[in-house]
Symmetry: C2
Subunit: 362 residues, 2 copies
């Protein structure tokens, strides 16, 4: 199977996304996108033993340095960010240094944010090794760390020079993380691509079995959707906010249960089902389409509801701290129909209450 190249069209900040097997061995891709003489690879203790050696060969022409982070969303914070700065300055790395993120969404978000801030901005390259990162977090230039009071509260928009998604790296991904990635893939179908949603209903089992052709197709279609949205609205003034379907509920679930307990994609899956239910209550989504959504999430073996111990007070408090608050009101991404999302900040409070009750949050 050959690889695919997509482009994120952002004028002077445009960049390619390479998708396919064996890309970590394609030295010329790395040489093409590394700027200065120094590269700081940021990775974690799980990924480093698997792929750092291969990456080192591809970067043989550069002065390569490495920062290995602990693995887990609970380390996506300012303290970990500071360890990257310490390392960059201990070398010392100059302002032409390229930061290279090798890992999943956490590594990509924190390394990208370090690149955004180091000497007021140095280039970076995303090498995502999880399905979630390949279809979502590595594309679009959103970088951030979490704060104890909210997810992704501190960050920057900083576009990478390139995204290099080697699908072979998915072979080492735990099943649970694979499913979390499928949650974000389902999201693209829900918000703007009813046909792709239909494809997923037919082929989700092939994704769960990691069939390479099915994975490459789904990653390509997801990245193309995201690249289109980001090109139209880089800094989330409008359409880009639709990518947050399921995320307001999802972030609140993650914050409440504690980062690292639920995977991001798992929380988003439950959040999408909740948003779909609320959309049905408002009379927009049909009963049939709600069932199709719930069924596909279930087929992907993802959560259909928040965990039982979560309380209404916790959830609402965390929703209020989420970034999607305008003038004190929590704005939600909801569905007009299956395949068309929109922003709603004027839903009736009792529709939200009924939704929480349906999902046994009290």
């Amino acid at each position: 199977m050959s690889d695919i190249t997509l482009n994120v069209e952002l004028g002077a900040r445009s960049y390619p996304i390479y998708i396919g097997p064996g890309l970590l061995h394609r030295k010329e891709l790395f040489v093409r996108h590394v700027g200065g003489r120094q590269v700081m690879v940021v990775t974690n203790e799980t990924v480093a033993p698997l792929y750092l050696q291969t990456l080192g060969d591809a970067l043989a022409d550069s002065e390569m340095h490495v920062t290995v982070l602990p693995d887990g969303e609970q380390y996506k914070n300012l303290a970990t960010l500071e360890t990257i700065f310490d390392r960059l300055l201990a070398v010392p790395c100059d302002r032409q240094t390229t930061v290279l993120a090798l890992g999943g969404g956490v590594v990509g978000d924190i390394a990208g944010f370090a690149a955004a801030c180091y000497q007021r901005g140095v280039p970076y390259i995303q090498v995502p090794t999880t399905l979630l990162a390949q279809v979502d977090s590595s594309v679009g230039g959103k970088t951030a760390v979490n704060h104890p009071r909210g997810k992704n509260m501190i960050g920057a928009f900083h576009q990478p020079n390139a995204v290099i998604a080697d699908t072979d790296t998915l072979s080492t991904l735990p099943d649970r993380e694979l499913r979390a990635g499928i949650a974000e893939i389902i999201k693209y179908g829900l918000i703007r691509d009813r046909e792709f949603f239909g494809w997923l209903e037919q082929h989700v089992a092939r994704l769960l079995e990691r069939e390479p052709q099915a994975l490459t197709y789904a990653i390509d279609r997801s990245c193309a959707a995201k690249a289109g949205v980001v090109a139209a609205d880089e800094r989330e003034q409008g359409e880009r906010a639709l990518l947050n379907l399921g995320h307001t509920f999802g972030h609140a679930i993650e914050s409440t249960v504690g980062y690292g307990q639920w995977l991001h994609g798992e929380a988003v899956a439950a959040g999408m089902v909740m948003a779909a239910y609320l959309s049905r209550l408002l009379g927009d989504l049909s009963d049939t389409d709600f069932s199709r959504i719930r069924n596909l999430v279930d087929q992907a073996r993802l959560p259909l509801a928040p965990p039982p111990h979560i309380t209404r007070a916790d959830l609402l408090e965390h929703m209020r701290t989420d970034k999607k608050v305008a003038a004190g009101r929590v704005r939600l991404v909801l569905l007009k129909t299956l395949g068309r999302a929109y922003l709603n900040d004027s839903y009736p409070q009792n529709a939200l209450d009924d939704t929480l009750r349906y999902f046994k949050v009290s």
Copy 2:
């Protein structure tokens, strides 16, 4: 005396600089530039008792919150930045919040960086209360904190919505800080305005005596120079680097003696004399012009050389960590003539050695 409005021309990110007496009482200026319903004022323990009450009246239409930082360059670090994030999230402040920096360069740099990162960027307003901040750091969108290994190593380019420079606030400024501000004013004459340099030779005593008309003239002329440079080169790809005259030596002096021992402007003053000496050694600057520069810095009662205990090894090491390093070589801003600066990364090493020897750094 009436006030002056300048514009920094940056397309969609253009903004006004207001300069003049009594501006803190001009409520309409603040109302015009505050975006959302919430304002987070960031100030320090020295400035708060002097001007916070007046500012509070001007912001009476907003939900105002305050973060008071300790006073001093030694607190311009990631730990202090984190206290601002903690405060923003404790309120909680939403993503339309305006951050307002009330204070000198340290407050402006750190508050601006907090605004750049909070929820990936919220608006901010600069209300500089020191001469240095009014003529330099509040204009141009450079924000940052220091790292133990180097000054301003972690930061962002983030333009303010407005700069409101009330010249009345200079009445409470300690003499030493007034002189530090004059150092940056002299810099504008050196790098691009020989005529203004001549004016300063005639009128520096009036600045030291805080004569309002002389101060307003010098602030206006300095801000106009800076606004012109920033409009031409927002992200320091070229011309903007000339604003760093004296800063590579200056930052190395500050880092070596420890932040907070020498004021930034004092270190820059010594650094400018060093850069002028090196320019003379290269055969560019005349003996007469070098003497004029040295004399003006002396008239402003600013340091003419680094402190006696500083060593060559310390200075060179800190110069190498400075951001002005390209491909391992320290790039310096030097003078072709008085009034024309340029970038040089190919000066002979022995010219730098002779310069350090002349200033008794060994």
